[in-house]
Symmetry: C2
Subunit: 150 residues, 2 copies
DNA sequence: ATAGATGCAAAGAGTTTGCAACTAC
DNA sequence: GTAGTTGCAAACTCTTTGCATCTAT
């Protein structure tokens, strides 16, 4: 986990990007909240604690950079804002279970979509580099606490 | 195809929604462009031809209504705007192949995700009602016309 | 007749950008 | 020293909302 940060710094260095304190606190926010899917605003709020002068624009620019460098992956859960998680986590493929009642996002590990990818590429000549599989439904907690949403 | 419209009108009637000319032209826009994944603005531009006084807000309100009634399904392809397709098409499940170079969205028919849904529900106690599977990559045309994006 | 629907303009939310000041290298 | 980065505010894009007017039933 700690040398994940070193590797990222190295990657930034190699591409002549500077390792600014702002970028450091943003990366640490993701490391410290590895189970979350943080939005730009959530990152901003976390990071303001350690670096109060940071601007929201810097957060957006850093997130864009990290996505370009394939360090973060941008995901959209349909709640009107982009969310981010480490790409390295996406490599051991997991899928997202999005609760339609409370909006919570659970994860489910599952690596068996490669065969489908190969099949599709064979059939359609579309070269697949990545996939995202989302399931929508209702989590146990929401089903238990009343049937507001069946 | 034509009685699909009748069914939708019936559904609107049953729920005491009025069948206004604006709603009619919007629905027809989707019927006439069944292969597209139209955005609100695209619908607006199509529909202005037949009904020049229509407002963009009406398009948004109608799309919301049709999503609520499960006639349309809202999809997000990561291009910063919501897109829509008939839910009935989603029922015979197909997945979206999104080209990272040109943004084109191809489709691939495939119905075999139910077993995975059942497996996940069993494992996690998350009750799944729907899923969305997107593949990202490069279409043949973009691969052929130069390797701008490898 | 009347509940619901519309068009317009203004407001909101999320994100991007121009620019002068700053800083990691 | 300098190219790259930052914070701020303004701009932009997509979407939603308030309200007076209109209309399908």
């Amino acid at each position: 986990m700690e040398n994940q940060l070193e590797e990222i710094y190295k990657k930034l260095h190699e591409q002549d990007y500077k390792i600014t304190p702002q970028r450091q606190v943003i990366l640490k926010a993701f490391l410290n909240n590895a189970k979350e899917h943080l939005s730009a605003e959530e990152v901003y709020n976390i990071v303001k604690g350690q670096y109060p002068d940071i601007g929201l624009a810097t957060v957006y620019r850093t997130l864009d950079l990290l996505v370009d460098l394939d360090i973060l992956q941008r995901i959209n859960f349909g709640d009107g804002r982009a969310r981010y998680e480490f790409s390295s986590r996406a490599e051991h493929h997991h899928h997202h279970l999005i609760c339609l009642a409370c909006g919570k996002v659970l994860e489910f590990d599952h690596d068996l979509l490669e065969s489908l990818e190969n099949f599709i590429t064979k059939k359609t000549d579309f070269q697949i580099t990545d996939h995202q599989l989302k399931f929508f439904g209702y989590c146990r907690e929401c089903r238990e606490k009343g049937q507001e949403k069946p």
